[in-house]
């Protein structure tokens, strides 16, 4: 039983890290909560369903197509909505509410196109997972863990050594100054929205293969990512990892001892405890607008 809990914690931990990372890439240079990011995640799952089940494309073709389509949704929202608003000097709160509006619109578009019921992309027969020290773990869960780990490491190296990654960090620390030294901040923000959306799209597909999809699935997953980010503190990759680990551990332990229906509430109770006790998160970077 202990092994099973550890396995579940690990699985959630890797997915939370991936989602938090994808969210941070959008949050970091722009400093606003891109709620419609949840829709990127949902869209990628539904596009996979659309290509593989409705158009009968093979999986190796439909998954990349879905990732590209979902990334396009994320980048389009930046081009068509956030950039014009930023040009009008909108505050992060205005951007967040606009994003909430966009989320409402797109979520209902998905509901209209594909219906509210659960859709599945799993085609093969259901089989018992691999036994692993007394715990059961399915193939797709192993793939999830490997992909999340690979993407996380790739992202860390990208942000540190790649030119675009370094430019993203420059824009995050001071947009005006980076404009002065010749970095086009709008293009860099578009890049980071693109990368963030692609990561979220991958997460969406992995989740869809593990637990199927509904039009509202993205919101909860995104909020777990946001909670992990706030716990960890923005701007530190390892803080993010710590936040995701703490969140996953607390959720699964409470699911075991109290009941799995309280997992949502536990995530927010942790968030609130952090806002009271350690408002700057693990990494302690001063980014949060706390106390005047």
């Amino acid at each position: 039983m202990i092994m099973q809990i550890i396995c579940n914690i690990l699985l959630s931990f890797f997915i939370y890290t991936l989602i938090a990372l994808s969210f941070v890439l959008c949050y970091y240079p722009t400093r606003f909560f891109h709620i419609a990011h949840a829709i990127t995640l949902t869209f990628s799952a539904y596009f996979t369903y659309f290509f593989s089940q409705q158009l009968h494309f093979p999986l190796y073709l439909s998954i990349p197509l879905a990732i590209i389509a979902a990334t396009a949704v994320g980048m389009l929202s930046e081009i068509a909505l956030y950039k014009p608003l930023r040009k009008r000097n909108a505050s992060p709160m205005i951007l967040m509410i606009a994003s909430l509006g966009l989320y409402t619109v797109l979520q209902n578009v998905i509901s209209m196109l594909w219906g509210d019921d659960t859709k599945s992309v799993r085609t093969g027969e259901i089989k018992v997972g691999n036994e692993f020290f007394g715990a059961y773990i399915t193939d797709i869960q192993i793939i999830t863990i490997v992909i999340c780990l690979a993407l996380f490491l790739a992202c860390v190296f990208f942000m540190k050594y790649n030119r675009i990654g370094r430019n993203i960090r420059a824009v995050a620390s001071n947009p005006e100054l980076s404009n002065i030294v010749g970095i086009n901040s709008d293009r860099i923000i578009l890049w980071s929205f693109g990368i963030g959306s692609a990561l979220a799209a991958v997460a969406g597909i992995l989740i869809a293969f593990d637990t199927d999809m509904t039009p509202t699935m993205g919101f909860n997953w995104l909020l777990y990512g946001v909670v992990a980010m706030i716990i960890g503190g923005v701007g530190s990759n390892w803080g993010l990892v710590g936040g995701a680990l703490l969140l996953a551990t607390a959720q699964h332990l409470s699911a075991y001892y109290i009941g799995s229906q309280w997992m949502d509430a536990i995530a927010y109770i942790i968030l609130i405890l952090f806002l009271i006790g350690k408002p700057l998160g693990f990494s302690g970077k001063r980014l949060k607008k706390i106390e005047i």
Binding site: R88, L95, A265, Y268, K289
Partner: protein
């Protein structure tokens, strides 16, 4: 006709909700996504007291307001440590916690099964069962809340609220107690949100947690923003607009399932449009409001 009365009662309930949110979000600058939670606390208090103990309406109302106010007091002590977008995330968290309490605390709220058989309101021995009578009662409360908020926001306390929503530090430098004013306006807003909750529970006579979700909070916030920040009349008109919208869509021949989605798409779109109008911040002249 019965259906039209039903819709008018719903307009009244949403008008009360959006007016009470307008106090904290519009005047106080604290945009909250926990309002459906307070609404739900009111409804559940009414349902539990009326079904289990047969408490009369005139006693239920103050108890529900008190409980909702107490919750808001605790919440504001936590959430007001943050401002703006972090405040929204924090209230969103509280909304989810309140919802999962309603949904999972089986022994008290019966979870997703809901609470059936809430009796009709009886005032001074007269049971209010017809829709006409209930509509009059709702309108009475809408008017009461409207005039209360009108008086409150025109008072010196209202001026302090407007000032702090525009510049907190400056307001503090004038010797106003910013934190206390925020706590008061948030708590009063939540207490007023319990009133439509009580009315709703007695009116529908059956409640379950799905009426008090995050989506409902987003909907109430949309009413406030579409109607215009600090514009109490606007809230009433926007509530009427958004409640009648799906009926109009159905009237032009849209199937039922699509009309519901279409309404959300329209109010999401209007929300985005309003953000372009408000892009320089909410502390604008009344000229920016739609109504």
């Amino acid at each position: 006709m019965e259906y039209l009365l039903h819709l008018l009662i719903l307009v009244g309930i949403y008008a009360m909700l959006s007016q009470s949110l307008n106090l904290s979000a519009g005047f106080g600058g604290m945009i909250s996504l926990a309002h459906a939670g307070f609404y739900g606390v009111g409804a559940y208090t009414a349902a539990l007291l009326a079904v289990n103990f047969g408490v009369p309406f005139l006693l239920v109302l103050p108890i529900a307001m008190l409980l909702s106010g107490l919750l808001a007091l605790v919440v504001s002590a936590i959430a007001l440590r943050t401002i703006d977008d972090y405040f929204i995330i924090c209230t969103l968290g509280i909304q989810v916690i309140v919802f999962s309490l309603m949904n999972n605390w089986m022994s008290l709220t019966k979870g997703p099964l809901g609470i059936p058989g809430i009796p009709a309101i009886s005032l001074f021995g007269v049971a209010i069962e017809s829709k006409w009578a209930f509509l009059l009662l709702t309108l009475f409360f809408v008017a009461l809340i409207f005039f209360f908020l009108k008086k409150l926001t025109a008072s010196s306390f209202g001026l302090t609220l407007r000032a702090l929503s525009e510049d907190e530090i400056f307001t503090q430098s004038l010797g106003k107690n910013v934190y206390l004013s925020k706590v008061i306006s948030f708590t009063v807003g939540a207490m007023l949100a319990a009133v439509p909750g009580v009315l709703y529970a007695h009116y529908i006579s059956y409640i379950d947690p799905t009426s008090f979700t995050v989506d409902e909070s987003i909907f109430i916030l949309s009413i406030v923003i579409i109607g215009g920040m600090r514009n109490l009349w606007g809230s009433v008109i926007a509530a009427a607009f958004l409640v009648f919208l799906p009926e109009v869509l159905r009237f032009v021949g849209m199937p039922n399932a699509i009309a519901a989605n279409m309404r959300q798409i329209i109010y999401g779109g209007v929300l985005i449009f309003m953000m372009f109008r408000y892009s320089r911040g909410f502390e604008r002249k009344a000229a920016d409001n739609l109504f």
